[in-house]
Amino acid sequence: MTSPLWIGRYRSAFAVVVSAIFAAPLYLALVNVFKPADAIRAHPLALPLHDFTTANVAGAAQLSLVQHGLKTSLIITVGSLLLMVPLSAMAAYYVSRWDSKVARLLMLFFLFGLMLPPQVVLIPTTVILRHLHLMFTYWGVILNFAAYYLPFGVFVFSGFLRSVSRELDEAGAIDGASSLKIFWRIIFPLMRPATASVIVVTALWTWNDFLSPLIILGAAHGVTITTGIYLAIGTYSIDYGQEFGVMFLASLPVLALFLFLQRYFVSGLTGGATKG
């Protein structure tokens, strides 16, 4: 579509102004990472031109809550993914390839899990984990995440599977491969784009989650980076500058992931979404 040039210019200017207002909190969070605490209070919006410092980040990196939190978050995120990705891929393969009443019911059952607020199942989950002696352990949090995000994986994978030809399955079957073998050797490698989306989005959610680690890991037993920030800022009231340093360190991994894999973020988050 073509519109007169002057409309195009106004449109760009307008878009830039709106975006700048929207980005103000991000700007604020970023510039104050590199300013001393008193400068943050006095001139929160100023650029760190003459008082640029990396002391906030260095100080934040020294905090044991942050070190411990980053390590725990990494373990939990990777653990949850290792469990959740293959399980949801296989479940999706099953429900989308076998046309039985059971499979359809199972799909409905998974979709239903997509809209479940975590608070609804959290209390019984803690009781079950306590019985299994997994409360206050990494495993407890990992199992909880893997189960809770399973429906999302099933949803994305089964959406993708609709575009994978069934002839491949049949060819494999004729060659005498078992369905498990067909899945791992033929189907799963083909689903790489869907797998990337599921990994990226689930990694983001598990890394950023606050409620589950707060309860299941328990602050006295271990912290993830999110509960670590909460304790560092909320309870121990650290230096104002370090606050921004801590948030910077916590966000750096997801921001890096996002900038490099933006494509997968968008397709994962909107995965089933754009298909309607």
Partner: protein, 274 residues
């Protein structure tokens, strides 16, 4: 199996706990029938939480949805500048709720950035306690949620807009269908599936909102932002009243499941009619 053990079983257990007086601190658990539910009917804190949740969710369903569509329409050109601007709108989505909460807390407190900027700009009259009165606090929480989720809505709308064939818009232009008429008659019906997705996702987001209310206001002032999600957490894990908290969880679940089903059915019907 894992899903059954840690998602479905808990849901069933939540139902059964809600009929007991289970409390982590007392060893005896007895069946109390619908006692917990009866108690909720006269529980002013719970009723307040339901009201707060309803108000916040209603605003959160509408605001990011409407603004997201506006932003999508604004940023849909394929130039480099607009690609950068789109990325900016998407950044808040990848940040942790905890981080977003603390950034906004630094802005919203009495001596926070918003008030100091207003002061410097000579707009001291507009300075206020953004978290001090019930209305301001609810408004602030909704603003934070809108800021974080508007980019997501915009991305979903952008994908829907991209799917509209250029020929269709050009044909409309030839027929004199421009401006608002073009939006009303062509764009709006064709983004209907995106409206459904955003509405349902925002609905669920609104009901489970926890990080902001826990960190920015901790339910205050005076319970003004104590939503159902936070209340279940306090009753369940601070007072350890698992039975009562489970009854609240069941009510929350019933509302979320009911409303999302209704929303999907209503909005889907609109999609079919087009």
């Amino acid at each position: 199996m894992l899903y059954v053990a840690l998602v479905f079983l808990p849901l069933v257990l939540a139902l059964s706990y809600s009929l007991t007086n289970k409390n982590l601190l007392s060893p005896q658990t007895a069946y109390v029938g619908f006692g917990n539910y009866r108690e909720l009917l006269s529980d002013t804190v719970f009723k307040q939480a339901v009201k707060v949740t309803a108000i916040m969710t209603a605003l959160i369903v509408v605001l990011p949805n409407a603004l997201g569509l506006g932003i999508a329409l604004m940023l849909r050109s394929e130039t480099r500048l607009f690609a950068v601007l789109r990325t900016i709108f998407f950044v808040p989505i990848v940040l942790a709720g905890v981080v977003v909460s603390f950034i906004w807390q630094a802005m919203l407190t009495d001596s926070g950035v918003i008030n100091s900027v207003l002061g410097t700009a000579g707009l001291g009259a507009l300075q206020q306690g953004w978290l001090d009165t019930p209305n301001h606090a609810i408004g602030s929480i909704v603003a934070v949620a809108t800021w974080q989720y508007v980019g997501f809505c915009a991305v979903v709308y952008l994908a829907a807009l991209k799917a509209i064939p250029d020929e269709l818009l050009e044909a409309a232009q030839v027929d004199g269908c421009v401006g608002f008429a073009r939006f009303r008659r062509i764009i709006w019906p064709l983004v209907a599936p995106a409206v459904t997705i955003n509405t349902v996702l925002l609905l669920i987001t609104g009901f489970k909102l926890f990080d902001y209310v826990k960190i920015i206001t901790n339910g205050g002032p005076g319970g003004a932002t104590n939503n159902m999600a936070l209340n279940i957490y306090s009753v369940g894990f601070t007072q350890n009243a698992f039975g009562l908290a489970s009854a609240q969880a069941v009510v929350l679940f019933a509302i979320v499941a009911g409303l999302s089903t209704v929303a999907v059915l209503l909005l889907r019907r609109r999609e079919v009619e087009v």
